[in-house]
C-alpha cells in the first residue's frame, strides 16, 4: 500500500509543507460562513420545545395557543413527521419528535417556526404538554445488573456487553506476586465545540430540500434525514456549512430533520441555531464510566493478568454506544503485553443525557483506568512509573488483548524513554502570582504548594473498526485555466477545523505537481467520505484524493504515450507538458478508497482483528498543587507521539496541543453534572473548559515511523493526545498530594481529603 511521496523538485505547498489554510483568510476577516451565519431574505426561525423531565409518558400535546401567536408559521409534533419516526446511527431508536414518552431531559417534543426567534420562543412556551412523570433510571450499574430495574427500552438496558477473554486469569491470579485493584470513575465530558448546532434548510422546487449544515458526515446525515421526511435520498441535498468545531458531537443528528420538516411545511427557508444552554441538551456527550480493575504481576512488575469491568452510561438513546463499548473492551488492557485477560465492557441505557462520540471514543475512559493501575503497580513493586510501563509496553509484532498483532511500528519503550528525558521545567517563580495555583485570586504565595510529576501512555484505534465498510470518495479534475494547470478536488469530507481542506490540496499538489489546487465545497453531489471521526480523514480521504490523483496521472501518461510517444517520469509533472496534454479539455477521475478489512470481535471471547491501525501518545505532566486548598496549576505538558509521517507539521501540532487541552479539561475541570437525570450546569459559567491561563506550554516530540499499510505511511493523529493527557495530569496531582484520586475530573476536596 505504501507509495513513496513522489520525489524530485517537490512542489511548494505539498505533503510535508505547512501551507496556509485556504479558509484562513476568511476566518480572520470574519467572512467565513458558519452554519449559524447563514441568512436568507424570507427565512423563518425554528425553535424546539424540549422535555423538562428525564422520564415521562406523554398524555397529550396542545398546540392551539402557540398557533395563535402572530408571526408563527408552523407548530409541529410527531404527528407531522411524514416518514420514519425514528432514526439513529446504529439503532433506529431515537424519535424525531417524542411520540408517547420522553426518555431524557431535553428530548425534542415539538417545533415552532416564526418570523423572529423571540416570537418562536414565546409561542413554544405556549405549547401545553401533559406529562405523566416516571421515576428515571439514573444508575448505570443498576440499569445493567439489577433485574428489578425498569427498562428504558423494550429490549433491555444493556446495549452491548463485550467480553475479552485471553488465557486463564483466575489461575494466573493464584500465582501473581503482586496484585493491585482499583475502582475508577470518569465523569460526563462535553465536546463543547464553540459553534452551536445550526443550519439552514431551504425547500426545493422538486419537493425536496437543501440543507446547509455543520456536521461531521454529510452522507450519514442524508441517510437518516431522508426516510424521516419520506423523501428519496436524492431529494435531500446537503452542503457543508462552516463548522465551528466538532470533537464527536456532530456525529449524531441534532436539528437537521427538524429544520427540514419546518421548511417543507412552511415552504420557506428555516434557520435553527441552538443557544449554549440548548446545545448542552442538543448533542451526545462522552460516556461517563465506572470501572473496576485488577492487575496481577510478578514482583519485578511484569503483568501476568488483568481483570476489568467497565460500565459506560449511554443514556437514553443508543447513538454510538456499541462502538464505544467495543473500543473500551478491545483497548481496555492498554498498550501492554498481558498473557491473561478478562475484561467485560457494558454499554447501558439509562434516562441520563444520551452519550456517544467524543474524541478518544471509549479509549479515553479505559486509559484513565489502566494507567491509574500501572501507577499503583509501580508503587507496589517499588518501581519508577516509566520503568514499569517500559517493562510491559507492547511493540510491533505483539498482540493486544484481542489477539490482534500490531503489524506496524509501535516504539513505545522509546517514546517512554524520550518523554522521561525531556528537561524538567524550573521551579515556579513565586514572585508572580500568575505562576501559582489559584493565580491572581491570591490564594497562596507558595506556601502549601507541592510539585508533582506524572506519566501516562495511551493506545487508540484509527479509522472505523469491527468490520465496518469504511471508505472515502474523491473526485479530482485537472484542467487548464489562464494557461496554467489547475486541479479541483471534490470530496464530501467535513472540514471541522482540523485542516483537512489544506491537506487535500497538499496531496493534489504532490501527486500532480500542480501548484494551483482548489478544494470544492463539501456536499452530497459526490460520494461519501465517511466521518471526520476516529482520526481517520488524513488516512481515508487523504487516501481517496491520492488514488484519484494517481488515476488522473495515468490518464495523462496515456495521452503522453499516444500523442507524444513518451511516458512522463515519476516526479512532478512538467506544467508545460500538462498544458499541452489537457488544454481545452478536462481530465476527471473519481476513486473510492478503503482501508484493509477488519473483523468483528468474537462475541464471547473478544478476539479478532477488529482495528485498522493503532496510534500512541505519551505524556509527562508537571503540576504545582496547593495541597491545602486543592488547587492545581499545570506547569507543563510534554508529549511524544508517533505519527508515521508528518504531512503538515503546523496542523499536526495543533491537533496534539488541542487534544492535550481537552485531556487537561477532563482531568481537572470538565464535567456535565447530572442529578436525578437532570443537567445541573448547562452553561459555560458552570461547565468549565480550559482557558489560556489553565493550559500550560507544551513540549512536543513527534516521531515518524511509517505504517506500511497506510497512505504515505501516516498514522491518524487527532485523538491519541486526548487519552494520555488526563491520566498523566492526575498522576502528577497524586504525586503532589499523596491521595488516590480515582475519579476525574479531580475536585479540590479529593486533593485535600476534606
Amino acid at each position: 500500500m505504501t507509495r513513496a511521496v513522489p520525489q524530485g523538485g517537490a512542489v511548494r505547498g505539498g505533503i510535508g509543507d505547512s501551507p496556509a489554510r485556504p479558509d484562513g483568510t476568511l476566518k480572520v476577516t470574519g467572512e467565513f460562513a458558519y452554519s449559524s451565519d447563514l441568512w436568507m431574505d424570507d427565512m423563518l426561525w425554528g425553535v424546539t420545545l424540549r422535555s423538562p423531565h428525564p422520564s415521562a409518558w406523554i398524555r397529550g400535546i396542545d398546540i392551539t395557543a402557540a398557533l395563535q401567536v402572530p408571526g408563527v408559521h408552523a407548530v409541529l409534533t410527531h404527528e407531522d413527521v411524514p416518514g420514519a419516526r425514528y432514526y439513529g446511527l446504529d439503532r433506529l431508536d431515537q424519535p424525531v419528535l417524542a411520540i408517547d414518552q420522553v426518555r431524557y431531559e431535553g428530548e425534542p417534543v415539538a417545533l415552532v417556526a416564526a418570523d423572529h426567534p423571540e416570537t418562536a420562543r414565546r409561542a413554544r412556551d405556549r405549547i401545553r404538554v401533559d406529562y405523566e412523570v416516571r421515576e428515571p433510571v439514573t444508575d448505570a450499574r443498576r440499569a445493567a445488573f439489577d433485574p428489578s430495574c425498569p427498562r428504558v427500552h423494550e429490549g433491555g438496558n444493556i446495549v452491548r456487553h463485550q467480553p475479552i477473554r485471553v488465557g486463564d486469569p483466575d489461575a494466573a491470579a493464584a500465582t501473581a506476586e503482586v496484585v493491585v485493584t482499583g475502582e475508577y470513575e470518569v465523569g460526563m465530558q462535553d465536546q463543547a465545540f464553540l459553534g452551536p448546532e445550526s443550519g439552514l434548510a431551504v425547500p426545493a422546487e422538486d419537493g425536496g430540500v437543501h440543507l446547509f449544515i455543520a456536521t461531521q458526515w454529510l452522507h450519514v446525515d442524508q441517510e437518516q434525514i431522508a426516510p424521516c421526511l419520506g423523501l428519496p435520498p436524492e431529494k435531500v441535498r446537503l452542503t457543508l456549512a462552516g463548522v465551528g468545531g466538532a470533537f464527536g458531537a456532530r456525529e449524531d443528528l441534532s436539528m437537521q430533520v427538524h429544520a427540514c420538516l419546518l421548511a417543507l411545511r412552511t415552504r420557506r427557508p428555516i434557520k435553527i441555531v441552538y443557544g449554549r444552554e440548548e446545545s448542552f441538551f442538543g448533542h451526545v456527550h462522552r460516556h461517563p464510566a465506572t470501572m473496576r480493575y485488577e492487575h496481577g504481576a510478578t514482583k519485578d512488575g511484569r503483568l501476568v493478568y488483568v481483570k476489568a469491568e467497565i460500565v459506560l452510561d449511554g443514556g437514553a438513546y443508543c447513538s454510538t454506544t456499541p462502538a464505544v463499548t467495543g473500543n473500551a473492551a478491545s483497548l481496555g488492557a492498554g498498550p501492554y503485553r498481558v498473557p491473561n485477560v478478562a475484561i467485560d465492557a457494558y454499554g447501558v441505557y439509562t434516562n441520563n443525557p444520551p452519550c456517544g462520540a467524543m474524541r478518544g471514543f471509549g479509549a479515553v475512559q479505559a486509559c484513565f483506568g489502566y494507567e491509574s493501575q500501572l501507577d499503583r503497580l509501580a508503587e507496589a513493586c517499588g518501581l519508577d512509573p516509566v520503568e514499569v510501563r517500559i517493562r510491559n509496553a507492547l511493540s510491533a509484532g505483539a498482540p493486544i488483548a484481542t489477539g490482534q498483532i500490531i503489524d506496524m511500528p509501535a516504539p513505545l519503550d522509546d517514546m517512554l524513554r524520550r518523554v522521561r528525558a525531556v528537561p524538567m521545567p524550573p521551579p515556579a517563580d513565586v514572585t508572580d502570582l500568575r505562576n501559582l495555583p489559584g493565580g491572581v485570586s491570591n490564594t497562596t504565595h507558595g506556601e502549601g504548594v507541592v510539585r508533582g510529576v506524572g506519566y501516562a501512555i495511551g493506545i487508540k484505534n484509527i479509522c472505523y473498526s469491527e468490520g465496518f465498510d469504511d471508505y472515502s470518495t474523491a473526485r479530482v479534475r485537472l484542467q487548464v485555466i489562464g494557461g496554467e494547470p489547475v486541479a479541483l478536488v471534490h470530496t464530501a469530507a467535513a472540514e471541522v477545523g482540523q485542516g483537512l481542506v489544506t491537506l487535500q490540496a497538499q496531496i493534489a499538489r504532490t501527486e500532480l505537481g500542480v501548484e494551483r489546487v482548489t478544494v470544492a465545497p463539501a456536499d452530497t453531489a459526490v460520494g461519501s467520505a465517511g466521518s471526520s471521526s476516529a482520526s481517520r480523514q488524513s488516512y481515508m480521504t487523504g487516501g481517496a484524493v491520492r488514488a484519484a490523483c494517481v488515476a488522473v496521472r495515468e490518464r495523462l501518461a496515456e495521452r503522453a504515450r499516444q500523442r507524444l510517444g513518451r511516458t512522463p517520469g515519476p516526479g512532478p509533472l512538467d506544467p508545460d507538458l500538462v498544458v499541452k496534454l489537457v488544454d481545452g479539455d478536462v481530465i476527471e477521475e473519481t476513486r473510492e478508497f478503503r482501508h484493509r478489512r477488519t473483523e468483528p470481535l468474537d462475541p464471547a471471547t473478544g478476539q479478532g482483528n477488529s482495528h485498522t491501525q493503532f496510534a500512541f501518545c505519551v505524556h509527562r505532566a508537571v503540576v504545582d498543587v496547593d495541597v491545602e486548598l486543592g488547587l492545581v496549576k499545570v506547569v507543563e505538558l510534554a508529549a511524544v507521539q508517533d505519527v508515521g509521517t508528518i504531512l503538515n507539521r503546523v496542523a499536526l501540532e495543533g491537533q496534539i496541543q488541542g487534544g492535550s487541552a481537552q485531556g487537561l479539561g477532563l482531568a481537572l475541570m470538565e464535567e456535565i453534572q447530572v442529578a436525578d437525570g437532570r443537567i445541573v450546569n448547562p452553561s459555560f459559567t458552570d461547565y468549565l473548559i480550559p482557558t489560556i491561563l489553565d493550559m500550560p506550554p507544551t513540549r512536543l516530540e513527534i516521531l515518524e515511523h511509517p505504517d506500511p499499510h497506510a497512505p504515505y505511511g501516516l498514522r491518524g493523529a487527532g485523538e491519541p493526545s486526548t487519552l494520555s493527557a488526563t491520566p498523566a495530569i492526575v498522576a502528577a496531582v497524586r504525586a503532589a498530594c499523596g491521595r488516590p484520586l480515582t475519579r476525574v475530573p479531580v475536585r479540590p476536596e479529593h486533593i485535600t481529603g476534606r
Binding site: V28, T29, G30, R276, G497, G654
Partner: protein, 157 residues
C-alpha cells in the same frame, strides 16, 4: 425601535429592533456583519468581542439600545481594505486558526492588547489579556505564538 450607530466607520440606522435584542444579534442578523460570533451568548466565551467606543466588550451582553449613538468596531473592521492586519496574518501563519469560531473575538482582544502595550507583551500578559476568550481547538499555544509574532512586526504601533 430604531437604533443608530457607527460600525467600522459607517453610520447605520437599524429599524424594527425588538428591545430584547443584543448588539450581537443586531450586528449579525440586521447589519450583515456575522463575523462576531455567538458561541455562548452569556458573556463567558469572548467570541463576540467588539470595540464599543474603543473598549472591548462582549457584544452579547450589550443591549442593542445601549449601542445607540456609539461607535463600534468589529473583526470585519480590522483589515485595511484588502490588506490584512499583521495580527490577522500572524493568526493564519502560526496555525492559531483551526475551526476559527473563537478567532474573531480573540483578534479583537489581542488587537486591543497590542494597541495598549508598548513593545512586545510578555507571555504572561498575553495570557492575562486573552483569559476571557475560550478556544476549544488549539490548546492556545499557537494563539500565543501568533500574538508574539504580530508584536514583533510592530503591529500595535
Amino acid at each position: 425601535m430604531r437604533v443608530r450607530f457607527t460600525v467600522n466607520g459607517q453610520e447605520r440606522v437599524v429599524d424594527d429592533v425588538w428591545p430584547g435584542e443584543s448588539l450581537l444579534y443586531v450586528l449579525r442578523e440586521r447589519c450583515g456583519l456575522p463575523g462576531s460570533k455567538n458561541a455562548c451568548e452569556q458573556g463567558e466565551c469572548g467570541s463576540c468581542t467588539v470595540y464599543l467606543d474603543g473598549r472591548t466588550v462582549c457584544s452579547c451582553l450589550v443591549a442593542a439600545g445601549q449601542a445607540d449613538g456609539r461607535t463600534i468596531r468589529t473583526v470585519e473592521g480590522l483589515a485595511a481594505g484588502e490588506r490584512l492586519h499583521p495580527l490577522q496574518e500572524a493568526f493564519v501563519d502560526a496555525g492559531a486558526v483551526q475551526c476559527g469560531f473563537c478567532t474573531p473575538g480573540l483578534l479583537v482582544q489581542a488587537h486591543d492588547l497590542l494597541e495598549r502595550t508598548p513593545g512586545s507583551p510578555t507571555d504572561a500578559e498575553i495570557r492575562e489579556a486573552l483569559a476571557g476568550n475560550l478556544c476549544r481547538c488549539t490548546g492556545y499555544e499557537k494563539i500565543i505564538e501568533a500574538v508574539r509574532r504580530a508584536a514583533e512586526t510592530g503591529a500595535g504601533q
